[in-house]
């Protein structure tokens, strides 16, 4: 029985013509843990996932799922993985049950076993009562849950979830996060991609921060936050957009990084008590600071520290 890493990624690269989507990614997911790939849109998360799912062939490098190479044993990799795609990939004119039965068959399940597993996963996602409704008539959250259920039917040891909570209501999101934790408690290894820092923080044993096709940091939440050190994070808003003020603050003593997103200016500073008065002093006439929020460092601060830009840029 295989007892190594659930997933090993070795120098994985993927280029589409001149565009280098993934540029030498390395990480290792231990069996039984939840591993998050955290990064903004376009960072290369989905391309990495697609290569691990054998949907895309890497330009270079290799990856192993439960010891099977994605290049040499794609069928074994596919059989041992459950993949939850980012977009809803279900048949809207079939019911939830019919969808699950079909996907179960694609993983080789038949007869009584198929029926039992469909019943079980419908129970897990809380849709037993609505199983006969056509998926096309479901809410976004319900579709997301069925989308996940389809990847659980064959009881995979490793499940890959590509941003499974995008565009859904908070209640469904909560339900999905609880499901992920429950699956992990049952022994499933989860590779989870997200651009929501809170999700990565809540779920993960290990987090790899990915940007521009490269893993720029990897470790536990605590290990990653330590990268930022003793720095404080300050979120400020101004009464008016002023690039000149941002320029001035960038040069202010004690400011490590600065990024602007949706009118909020986020700074990483060494000591907020000393830096904050300097920020007020260096504003321009007519520009007023309308709010100040000082926070403990988090993953967003780490990303800002490492890349010089906000996570959701």
């Amino acid at each position: 029985m295989y007892d190594g890493a659930a997933i090993q990624v070795q120098d994985l690269r993927k280029s589409f013509g001149d565009v280098h989507a993934v540029r030498g990614v390395n990480f290792e997911v231990r069996a039984g843990e939840i591993f998050s790939l955290l990064g903004p849109n376009g960072a290369g998360k989905s391309t990495t996932i697609s290569m691990l799912s054998c949907l895309l062939k890497p330009t270079q490098g290799d990856a192993f799922v439960l010891g099977h190479s994605i290049l040499r044993d794609p069928q074994e990799v596919k059989a041992s993985l459950g993949v939850v795609p980012q977009d809803i990939a279900l048949y809207p004119d079939l019911s939830a049950r019919e969808n699950l039965e079909f996907w179960g068959k694609m993983y080789g399940l038949r007869g009584v076993e198929l029926k039992r597993r469909v019943d079980e996963v419908l129970e897990i996602i809380g849709l037993s009562a609505r199983q006969k409704g056509k998926v096309g008539t479901y809410s976004g959250g319900m579709k997301r849950r069925v989308n996940i259920a389809a990847a659980l039917l064959h009881k995979p040891k490793v499940i890959i979830m590509d941003e499974p909570t995008v565009g859904i209501d908070p209640q469904s999101r909560r339900h999905i996060l609880d499901n992920v934790k429950e699956l992990n408690r049952q022994g499933m290894t989860v590779l989870y991609t997200t651009h929501y820092m809170e999700e990565a923080q809540e779920l993960s044993n290990q987090i790899a921060i990915i940007d521009q096709g490269k893993v720029i940091a990897c470790g536990t939440h605590i290990e990653l936050v330590k990268i930022v050190g003793e720095m404080d994070r300050i979120d400020l808003t101004l009464n008016t957009g002023s690039p000149e003020v941002v320029k001035r603050w960038r040069k202010t003593a004690g400011v490590s990084s600065i990024a602007t997103e949706n009118g909020t200016i986020t700074l990483l500073v060494e000591d907020s008590n000393q830096v904050l008065p300097r920020l007020f002093e260096s504003t321009l006439p007519g520009v007023r600071i309308t709010s100040v929020n000082i926070q403990e460092p988090n993953l967003e601060a780490v990303f800002l520290h490492l890349t010089g830009k906000a996570l959701r840029d």
Binding site: S53, C54, K78, P92, K105
Partner: protein, 422 residues
């Protein structure tokens, strides 16, 4: 097994789609049905144009004279079998009841033969008259009765003229005329005339021979054959359409994300595309069988020998499935499918001769052009099958269709493999 699971899912999807059902069965049957009901009787030369019978009351008040009864002859003439599908004769006991029948609209016209009609009709110095009493709102039926009676009366006029001419000639040559002889001559002439002796076509020695092209006995068969060809054209067109429409599911699933998801399962790509191909074949088989049965029941089309039909159907189905898949392998997204499918299907259908099946004597070049398309070969196969030909006679078109189908399938497999290979 997975290949059949994929096929079953797609077949189910096709048959749950109202659009597919309309294009599969509704459209071809409706178009052929419209042609059938609009032009059916004309094309088939059938007897569906039936003028209603004209009801005629005949009151014969005449009495025979010397064994000769002109009134009776007129009644017999009107009751002739050859007129049975034009007029319906009822004998009235007297003039009043004949008139009453017309007044009460139980009859369209009344023919009243007056007393002394016989002697008046052959006597040179008397005038014979028959009264026609008709419903004034009717024109065609009573008009026919009037023409028939006039035709009959012309015979007696001819007899009288013949008798008069004979008498005048005898006098001119200084001979004595015997009035009884002249009367007898006129009577014999009238009898001969009314017994059909004047019929230029059907007399013992006909004076006129009218020859028509030999089409009467074949018209029904020709009409059915023409409908068969029209329906065959519709079947071919809509089978190719549904072939492409079903193949569209690959593009649709690609956009929907389910195709990518299928590729993440341990299901070989060949099984996925094979399942799609089987689903198209099954859908088309059901379509062809139901269309053949329905057209046979609704329009009475005799499609020919079962084995021949099966062979032509198989060729058509394989060719259209391959054609549909190949067409879709060139299309990038579902936004393109509507215009491309509509355009390509119409153009290839036209070139294949599907829209000109009812037009006779087309230039030979058009036949040659049609054979550049699988549609043309399919139509040729159906035309042969419709004649009741055996399997050996459709061997060439079926072989060409199967060859084209396999070629199309190969091209589409290569293109799809290239497209989905990462």
């Amino acid at each position: 097994m997975k290949i059949f699971d994929i096929a079953l899912k797609d077949v189910k999807h096709t048959f749950l789609s109202p659009f597919s059902l309309v294009m599969m069965f509704g459209a071809p049957l409706l178009i052929t049905g419209l042609l059938y009901f609009a032009f059916g009787s004309l094309i088939a030369g059938g007897d569906s144009f039936n003028m209603p019978l004209t009801k005629v009351e005949v009151a014969n008040l005449d009495s025979p004279s010397g064994g000769f009864a002109a009134g009776g002859m007129l009644v017999e003439f009107l009751q002739d079998e050859s007129l049975a599908d034009v007029i319906e004769i009822n004998i009235a006991p007297d003039e009043a009841s004949a008139r009453k029948a017309v007044n009460e609209q139980r009859a369209d016209a009344a023919v009243i033969i007056p007393p002394g009609f016989t002697s008046a009709s052959i006597s040179p110095d008397q005038s014979a008259e028959v009264m026609i009493y008709q419903d004034p709102t009717l024109t065609i039926g009573p008009g026919i009765v009037k023409d028939l009676v006039s035709h009959f009366m012309d015979g007696f006029s001819g007899a009288k003229i013949a008798g008069q001419v004979a008498s005048d000639q005898l006098i001119a040559y200084g001979k004595q005329t015997d009035p009884d002889l002249v009367h007898d001559s006129a009577q014999q002439y009238a009898t001969w005339l009314q017994s059909g002796g004047h019929d230029s076509e059907n007399a013992a020695v006909p004076s006129l021979s009218i020859v028509s092209p030999a089409r009467e006995t074949q018209s029904d068969e020709q009409g059915q054959n023409l409908f068969g060809q029209t329906m065959a054209g519709m079947i071919i067109f809509f089978v190719f359409f549904i072939g492409a429409n079903s193949a569209q599911s690959i593009i649709h699933e690609d956009e929907q994300g389910t195709l990518s998801r299928l590729f993440t399962t341990p299901t070989p790509q060949t099984a996925i595309l094979g399942g799609k191909f089987i689903s198209i074949i099954v859908s088309l088989c059901i379509q062809v069988i139901l269309l053949l049965l329905a057209s046979s029941l609704l329009f009475g089309i005799g499609w020919g020998q079962p084995v021949t039909i099966a062979l032509v159907s198989a060729g058509l189905i394989v060719a259209s499935a391959g054609f549909g898949l190949m067409l879709m392998s060139f299309i990038k997204n579902t936004r393109q499918t509507g215009p491309v499918m509509g355009g390509v299907m119409t153009l290839t259908g036209m070139l294949g001769g599907l829209f000109t099946t009812g037009i006779p004597n087309l230039p030979e070049a058009m036949d040659k052009v049609s054979l550049s398309m699988p549609h043309g070969w399919a139509l040729q196969g159906w035309k042969i099958a419709l004649t009741g030909a055996g399997p050996a006679q459709v061997f060439t078109p079926v072989l060409v269709l199967l060859g084209m189908g396999i070629l199309f399938l190969f091209v589409s497999s290569v293109l799809f493999h290239k497209r989905f290979a990462s």
